[in-house]
């Protein structure tokens, strides 16, 4: 079941409302909440998308956010249904083949690795243009307009919405210097994350 952005942000605004205090604007609340959705999804890696990408011949290194503008992390790459193995880093590729950077040997990819939030390496380069299927962790939409996003479904699974909501609540409470409340909210957030196997 999905939840809509508007009602979630209304809950957030109720939680951070301070009697006699300054109000949080709806647009700021939706902006901070959706940034928290992005962070939540990057840590849980539960909202993914897949795309078929054309790989030009002799090219091994790609700025993957240009190829896949909604991607923030690569999860899996397959070529004709065969999964390509992931190398932990370029050092693994280097240990295997010192000349990996321009190795154009093949008809099939053997390995891939991601370099930060920018670059993807597919090894070895292909002698002809080909396609691969890439499954990636989606960078969720950053909403900044409360009214426009009110009826839009949150992309997060409903069970993860509370993580993003708690994060946004803690961040907005900072504005009011409610440090004791933040501390207890933080303990609750840690428990939520632990339930998902995320230790902080």
């Amino acid at each position: 079941m999905t939840r809509q952005i508007g009602p979630i942000v209304e809950i957030l605004m109720q939680r951070v409302r301070q009697s006699g205090g300054l109000a949080v604007s709806e647009n700021q609340a939706v902006s901070i909440y959706s940034l928290c959705e992005q962070i939540t999804n990057l840590s849980t890696k539960r909202v993914t998308e897949s795309s078929t990408v054309t790989i030009p011949k002799e090219k091994l290194i790609f700025p993957f956010r240009v190829l896949l503008p909604n991607a923030i992390g690569i999860k899996r790459i397959t070529e004709s249904g065969r999964e390509i193995l992931r190398a932990r880093s370029i050092n693994d590729l280097s240990s295997y083949d010192i000349g990996w950077f321009r190795s154009i040997s093949g008809t099939r990819f053997e390995s891939w690795t991601q370099i930060g939030f920018d670059l993807l390496v597919l090894y070895p380069g292909s002698a002809a243009a080909t396609t691969v299927d890439i499954e990636y962790v989606k960078l969720l939409t950053h909403h900044t307009d409360f009214a426009a996003s009110y009826n839009i479904d949150s992309e997060l699974p409903s069970e993860d919405v509370e993580i993003a909501l708690s994060l946004a609540e803690i961040i907005l409470l900072k504005r009011f210097r409610l440090l004791t409340t933040i501390k207890s909210k933080f303990t609750e957030l840690k428990k939520l994350l632990l339930q998902r196997g995320i230790k902080i």
């Binding site: 940034l35 962070i39 290194i61 370029i90 000349g99 994060l167 961040i171 907005l172 900072k174």
Partner: protein, 198 residues
């Protein structure tokens, strides 16, 4: 996303009159520190044209930390003078295909290549629009580095960097110093950095 958006959120969350200049400086410092410590996840790759007989070059202006270097297809070793001494007694004068990059005897923004390049790189002519594909030039030297970009920063950095910068701003001696609040900001920023994998 760019650094101005981070600053704008930091100003919103801090509520009191925050010092604009120090806040900008703290945001720059955070990106520099993350980049230098190898924890940053923002990388760039550039082809550097080599000239035969020239071994000293400057890093690109936005480079923070060198991750790797390549000559044609080979990954180049990062070394110091002692390593070079072991590599060849004539390392200071030998010429050939670059095998090693070093920053010994250089300032922070420069590096030296050994052996001294014997060939000049072909120019990058992107006939197919693929400088790292079909158009990759012969005798090319390539640098992979973490960079100090102002724009094209993924949105996921906005909140953690904004909170860390607020923490530093309120740690800093001023008329609004608040170490307890600063500590709380550092602590939440640290958790967020962990969540995004920094």
């Amino acid at each position: 996303m760019n650094r101005i958006q981070i600053k704008s959120l930091a100003t919103y969350l801090s509520l009191v009159g925050i010092n604009d200049d120090t806040l900008s400086q703290f945001i720059d410092d955070i990106f520099n520190e993350l980049g230098m410590s190898g924890m940053v996840k923002l990388f760039k790759i550039d082809i550097v044209p080599l000239t035969a007989g020239t071994q000293d070059y400057n890093f690109p202006a936005d480079a923070l930390q060198l991750v790797s270097a390549f000559y044609n297809s080979d990954q180049i070793h990062l070394a110091d003078n002692r390593d070079l001494e072991a590599y060849s007694k004539a390392w200071r004068t030998s010429t050939g295909d670059p095998k090693v990059i070093t920053q010994d005897e250089q300032s922070a923004r420069e590096y030296t290549i050994f052996p001294i390049p014997s060939s000049t790189s072909d120019p990058v002519i992107p006939i197919h629009g693929e400088p790292f594909g079909e158009d990759f030039p012969d005798n090319a030297f390539t640098l992979l580095y973490s960079d100090n970009r102002q724009d094209d920063i993924p949105d996921i950095y906005i909140i953690p960097v904004a909170l860390e910068s607020i923490g530093r701003e309120f740690d800093y001696p001023s008329d609004h110093t608040d170490t307890e609040f600063a500590e709380s900001c550092h602590s939440i920023a640290g958790v967020l950095f962990k969540l995004i994998g920094v």
